[in-house]
């Protein structure tokens, strides 16, 4: 990772942590898993956004793994797409910025998610509309790997192929963890690449914490008629060693002792955590 990307992504993790800690709750590990993916989409020239207020929005993005909401907000903030200071509204009473993305509460939040298995089929609808309107734009969606245990993901995977949605790009944040354990322990047979390919998707692999690797995959031309899946290999909780790969951190904040480690590893000064 180059210096700028590394600095930006560290800043994002700091911002996510501080907003989450001050707010009193956050899916930090899910957020940290997705930082580089969201950063690459919004800040490395992948999404062609157009104007939020216009009906003629260009590319569309849906955060299907809604637990990473705070990561999305932080990226939108850093990209200058939302009002400065809006991130500090996170979980503040009356401020309308919550733990899962909700349409209408924040610009660029395309769809309300949080219940898993809704983002990909919704993205199918958006991509279909882009095709019907003969636009050159794409719809992107970020899925979790645990999320792919939901049946509706596979209904959408089939529909995307049956409608030849080569303008649909799904990124799979493949961190191997879900709330109560590892995805391989729970599913036994995982085989994402084979499953998605069998459904008719083009599948590519990326290092999910390397913006260049993700960007390269995202910008590849689609195979005509085929939707694309990028398996972004990630570590849940990436960036704070206590959290990395540990399912216990699915939905909790550090205690006083752990906080010291977070501050050290994220470079947070005394007084920044209120």
């Amino acid at each position: 990772m180059n210096g700028t990307d590394a600095r930006d992504c560290l800043e994002l993790r700091r911002a996510i942590f501080l907003a989450g800690y001050r707010g009193g709750a956050a899916h930090l590990a899910s957020c940290f898993s997705s930082v580089e993916i969201l950063y690459t989409l919004y800040m490395k020239g992948v999404l062609d956004l157009g104007q939020w207020d216009s009906r003629e929005r260009h590319d569309r993005f849906i955060l299907s793994k809604g637990h990473a909401a705070l990561a999305l907000y932080a990226v939108l903030d850093r990209a200058g797409l939302i009002r400065p200071g809006r991130l500090q509204d996170y979980l503040k009473p009356g401020c309308r910025l919550g733990g899962e993305p909700r349409r209408g509460e924040l610009e660029w939040v395309e769809a309300t998610t949080g219940s898993l298995g809704h983002g990909l089929p919704t993205a199918v609808g958006l991509a279909l509309a882009q095709k019907m309107d003969k636009t050159p734009y794409r719809t992107y969606v970020l899925l979790g790997d645990g999320e792919c245990e939901e049946g509706s993901v596979w209904e959408a995977a089939a529909a995307a192929v049956s409608f030849s949605l080569d303008n649909l790009v799904a990124v799979l944040d493949c961190n191997g963890l879900q709330k109560t354990g590892t995805v391989p322990d729970i599913m036994k047979a995982v085989h994402w690449k084979e499953k998605w390919e069998a459904f008719g998707w083009t599948v590519r692999d990326a290092d999910g914490h390397d913006p260049e690797s993700i960007r390269e995959c995202l910008l590849l031309e689609a195979e005509p008629g085929k939707p694309s899946l990028i398996i972004a290999h990630t570590v849940k909780g990436k960036g704070v060693s206590l959290m990395e790969g540990n399912p216990q951190w699915h939905y909790r904040l550090p205690n006083r002792k752990e906080l010291k480690r977070f501050k050290e590893e994220l470079g947070i000064a005394e007084g920044e955590v209120v």
Partner: protein, 305 residues
């Protein structure tokens, strides 16, 4: 009922290219093919996958389309409930849910294909307009009303062969309550295609010397309370006849409305008494087996008076 809906939908599709027809392996035979032939760019087949279809309808609506989702009522109301809630209602999407085969209209296949708790489930969803046409003309009008309404709509439809009780041309009244038959001794409120049983029961009761007023409710949500208030003052009991569980459907709507608005009312429910329907056969046969045919309605009303 389904036939006229398709006709109206084609009319709308012709006028407005944003109108789309989404199905889950559930088309209506010949008319369905005509739709596809005439509007290939406006019809989308999702296969047997209702949840994915509902969420995709939300996505299409986000992009300015007006999707009409069409598949058998139980698979929409029950299987796809959370998708209707989160994707359509919570995000206030301009999606129209056409639910044919509701009530006991698919009598031959038993309870998996009955839809007798959909109203209780769906009418609690904020922002959802709930329409329940009783006749072919009402069904076509419900489709037109849904198109004209910006926001989510559920249309509870029967199958085919419903009797007509309205004159053509027909326009839905603003209240959605129509008195189809005057009467001074008792009043029955009903909704959907069971109207024909209620009308027949009213005839039979007429022979018994009982004059039954019949009110057909085609807009269940929002429910207009004015007529009910008047009837509550005039009649000592209001019969609520529905092809639905007595919990949560029309009878509950009447009782709630009176209680919330503070006028006295006794509702006598005639529906499925917290049970799944028994038996197999035509809709009329299954109604009979479950006490919802004209003769049973007549008997229940006579006993209660």
């Amino acid at each position: 009922m389904q036939r006229v809906c398709m006709g109206k939908l084609m009319e709308l599709a012709q006028q407005d290219s944003r109108v789309l027809y989404l199905t889950a392996d559930s088309g209506e035979g010949g008319l369905d093919r005509i739709f596809r032939m005439n509007f290939p760019g406006q019809s989308l087949e999702f296969g047997i996958a209702e949840n994915g279809m509902i969420a995709a309808a939300a996505g299409l609506s986000m992009a300015g389309k007006i999707p009409f989702v069409y598949t058998a009522a139980p698979f929409l109301a029950y299987r796809s409930y959370e998708f209707i809630r989160n994707d359509i209602c919570l995000q206030d999407m301009n999606v129209k849910i056409l639910a044919p085969g509701s009530g006991l209209s698919v009598g031959q296949l038993g309870p998996t294909h009955h839809t007798t708790e959909d109203l209780s489930a769906l009418r609690t969803l904020p922002g959802l307009l709930v329409l329940s046409p009783a006749t072919p003309l009402q069904a076509a009008e419900a489709v037109r009303t849904a198109y004209g309404h910006s926001g989510p709509v559920y249309i509870r439809l029967g199958m085919t062969g419903e009797k007509e009780f309205y004159d053509d041309p027909y326009r839905m009244t603003v209240s959605g309550n129509d008195t189809l038959r005057g009467g001074k001794d008792a009043v029955a409120y009903t909704t959907g295609s069971i109207l024909e049983e209620v009308m027949e029961a009213a005839e039979l009761l007429g022979g018994d010397g009982i004059s039954l007023k019949v009110v057909n409710v085609s807009i269940l949500k929002p429910f207009a309370s004015e007529a009910l208030r008047e009837d509550a003052a005039r009649f000592k009991v209001i019969f609520a006849v529905e092809e639905h569980n007595i919990h949560g459907g029309l009878g509950s709507i009447l009782a709630e409305t009176a209680a919330y608005r503070g006028f006295p009312l006794r509702v006598y429910p005639i529906g499925l008494s917290d049970t799944f329907a028994e038996g197999y056969g035509t809709q009329k046969e299954v109604r009979k087996e479950n006490g919802l045919d004209a003769a049973s309605i007549r008997r229940k009303i006579r006993e209660a008076l």
